[in-house]
Symmetry: C2
């Protein structure tokens, strides 16, 4: 494995020149650069990552810590996120470093040992301790979502509140009055935002929220099933359901059939759709009406933001709320006549 010294000796040049030639500095003669590049290719030279990192002080990698207790990361949408995130960074020769931990210690350690140049904060809580800690350390990070914070921070979010406001309005305009919400975990910010949108739409019509119709759950098939069952167990069954994830909706669908109810006729359903490659809502038996925001794009965009922060961009310039599409398909229809 040739190193810089070998290459320099082979060329009869100094290491400095070779390094400069390879790294695209303008102060090196065009012909020299050509030779260097050719020799590098010939000797199959690759700069040692650790050495370069030590010299430059940059890790060339961004971190993502998997909180084991956080089942949000255990659901399929995370794969799509990761895929987009990784691909975008790889295109710029940057890595993603994954680790697993509970609590803030790991963030501190990774930052202070310069293992990574920044973090992405996944599944932020309503008030997220990680954001506070990293802000205080002045270490770069981008939040996937938002949180309540004292200082500005970089984030990429989707218009959750607006999406669920629109979705609820749609159902209300179709005449539905008993609308259920199967939401994400109560301590996550996106669930809060969606709940806000839901409430707002009800309030517009002067309708009070019915706590029996509002549920928080993990993003699993099981939970979607169990909650749907529960919703239809009593006498006050909903005529429409808002659901926070495709996986939950899959469970919901399963239960609805058992109840002998047809989606889009007996019960209207709107699901949030992260655009997962393994579950296409347009191909459901009854094509789903959805609020749609591909999570893969979140991964890509957050990667770009992280890079920008690394290049000195200010936190204020790295804040983005992506729109959410409301796509109406067959799973929604006018409320049944009483």
């Amino acid at each position: 494995m040739a190193n810089l010294k070998d290459l320099a000796e082979h060329l009869g040049l100094s290491q400095a020149t070779v390094s400069r030639a390879l790294n695209g500095y303008s102060t090196v003669n065009a012909e020299t650069r050509r030779k260097v590049q050719e020799a590098a290719r010939l000797l199959n030279y690759r700069p040692n990552t650790s050495a370069r990192r030590l010299a430059t002080g940059r890790a060339g990698a961004f971190g993502l810590v998997l909180e084991q207790s956080d089942n949000l990361l255990n659901d399929p949408h995370f794969v799509d996120f990761l895929s987009g995130f990784t691909q975008e960074l790889a295109a710029q020769d940057l890595d993603v470093v994954l680790t697993s931990a509970e609590g803030l210690a790991t963030y501190r350690r990774y930052a202070s040992t310069s293992k990574v140049d920044g973090f992405v904060i996944s599944a932020p809580k309503v008030k997220d301790a990680r954001v506070a800690a990293l802000t205080e350390m002045a270490f770069p990070f981008v939040v996937h979502g938002q949180t309540e914070a004292d200082a500005p921070y970089a984030f990429y979010d989707i218009a959750n509140e607006r999406a669920f406001l629109d979705a609820t309005r749609l159902l209300l305009n179709l005449g539905h009055r008993r609308i259920a919400l199967i939401n994400g975990p109560a301590d996550t910010m996106f669930a809060r935002q969606r709940l806000d949108g839901f409430h707002k739409a009800l309030a517009e019509k002067g309708l009070p929220p019915d706590p029996r119709l509002i549920h928080h759950a993990t993003m699993s098939e099981d939970e979607g099933y169990a909650l749907t069952r529960q919703l239809f167990a009593g006498s006050e069954a909903p005529t429409a359901i808002l659901c926070s994830s495709t996986l939950q909706t899959l469970g919901l669908t399963r239960r609805l059939r058992e109840e002998g109810l047809e989606m889009g006729r007996d019960v209207s359903v709107i699901s949030h759709d992260d655009g997962l490659s393994s579950m296409k809502t347009e191909n459901f038996s009854v094509p789903l009406t959805v609020t749609r925001a591909p999570i893969r794009e979140a991964g890509q965009e957050i990667a770009r933001m992280l890079v920008a922060l690394g290049n000195g961009a200010s936190v204020e310039t790295q804040q983005k709320t992506a729109p959410v599409e409301l796509i109406v398909r067959a799973s929604t229809s006018a409320a049944p006549q009483e």
Copy 2:
């Protein structure tokens, strides 16, 4: 951020001694070590990762490259794998480095720049080029699954052939004769193994395989749905179906209901179950008979193997085929009388 030099000066010791004290070398006085450790804690000293890596020549990380064209990595089971893999490594202060690429170049580059100390090879093909390349480079790796190779290599596999042999036998013994197989992609080794098991069981009964009942597909809900629809379109519908993933089975379930068929009564179904945390097969409307092997454990075990290889273990000692449980639940029953 204190570095080694600071710490040494603060203590009035040499960097060498401090380094030795911190790294647990026996040649340092117990009292000295105590002082060093205390000072390190006090000054919040953390050795710089890049510097250490450069000095030791070890990356302290293992790599996983996401092949973008490979939709196997786009399915939920990958999250569970990754979770187990990462957790196990994190426990030993090792990272996982993710990158995205097509082809072998990335493996070469990451190996030669010592970005990682080894790779895990996911979703191996029947004859996998990555395995051949890494073997030739004498770079450590563990295959998640198996492949046809010229030389021995480290792998963690599950007993796919045996599992599908047993599952098919079960169906045959229940009197089924028209058994369909919804398998994984044709070029993957695990799909090949499962097909072999399937064929073997049929052969035991002297039954010829019917190509119309054998399908290869990606591990998506859609495909499960589409193929099930196709299976029941003709006149020669199956009475039992073997399915390669929970997600496909979800699609299958969806279609079966549309066909007006009840799982476990009209049609027997056995699904492979990776033990995904977001989809529990025991909670299906009709609890599923499954071949079960938690993929999270694969992640953990492969992490251990990689570490062992790094510590000089021979490839031959790092080969494991984990058993697959056959769990009989309500989705299988005797074949309907003709």
